[in-house]
């Protein structure tokens, strides 16, 4: 166990808290981590941006102050 100063004394910090922050041991393994967004989510984002672009176009034609 380590101790960390907190100003009003000290607090025990479980080793597992830093243990969880460990990086993969081999540098190559970092390339194999799954990306934060899967392809389905990216496709949904593309769809959303297309929808937004269409609405933006309507807004520009209808009322530029709201665009």
């Amino acid at each position: 166990m380590r101790r960390r100063s907190t100003g009003s004394g000290s607090e025990r910090v479980s080793p597992t808290r830093t243990e969880k922050a460990k990086m993969p041991e081999r540098w190559e393994e970092r390339w194999t981590l799954p990306p934060p967004m899967d392809r389905g989510l990216i496709r949904a984002c593309i769809g959303l941006s297309g929808l937004g672009a269409a609405i933006l176009l309507i807004a520009v034609l209808h009322d530029p102050a709201r665009a």
Partner: protein
Amino acid sequence: MNFLFWGGLAQGAVVFAAIYHVVEARWGLTIRRLAEGMAAFLPVSFLLFFPLYPALDLFFGRIQDVNPLRGAWFDPRFIFVRGGLGLGAMTVVSLLFVYYSLRPEVGAALERGLRPRRWLYGVLAQGWQGERLEIQRSERGMDVLAAGVLLAYPITYTFMAFDLIMALDPFWYSSLFGVYFFVSSFYLGLSGLTVVVALLARRGLPGIASRQLSDLGKLVFGFTLMYAAMVWSQYIVIWYGNLPEETHFVVLRLWEHPWAPLSWSALAAVVLAPFVVFLSRRAKENTTIMLSIGLLISAGLWLERYVLVVPSLWPGDIAPLGWMEIGVTAGFLGAAGWSYGFFFQHFPLLPLTPSVQAPNPAGAHALEKTSSSA
């Protein structure tokens, strides 16, 4: 308004990565890479600046009629050219900074056959000179470009604040407004980063534990106070001066219908709620609370941008906040999400640089020691 919000979010996150590099921080290497990923939206944001020209031409033409004394500085073409040049330079410097961060790991991955030689990797690793040399070169490049990002950011964002927000009101001016805007954009970048980090921490991303969350929470807490100080500095000078050409901008937004409820809600979401919640250490280590506060600050800053821009353009008694505004915001969210997803489909979540993380077992061991002692 959405252009200012989403562009500011991405740029604020890249500025965070640049500061992280300049101060040689070690407390959250994964967080640095997550911040760098937001640079993927900057080219999109730059392209979205060009469709603004017809709107600038329309609104500034009207404003020039109301106040002809403003002169050539507020000519829409001049605003557009200087805005485009500033934003273009800022985008290039930011992307080069991220390029130098990515180059060593892309080159090393190609050299070891970890990745197929696609065009993007080929461009990034062009003229590859070997791992050791490239890591040194990359760090030198990042040193220079991080300083470039940190110098260009306040200048560009000050001009953006003056030209795209302040100048929409024919008579209002404030020399402090530029500082207010680039500080709030940085705060916005931090809140966006908090959302991403909290989401990924829930999925068990390596390199993010309660300690990193807590440190990020402390940074957000600090910038809550910084943002409040900026609002207060802006307010106190206008109140103390009591000049009608300065007070009307604040009075319209804080005391008059329909903008007052929106302004006070934004202030509560951006300052009050994060300040109270982040007084607790446990709250900063809890991913659900971090996610909620990150979303709340982001929503509050969206509302703040709305209240800064729209009252200058909208003469009606009811605030225009309907399906059009929500749809356009959703579109920007989609574009930001798509560019972020594209970045992490192609690049690893954990960075190789700085050189304490040499790509061999000894280097990996050094990294662990560093991250656990940060």
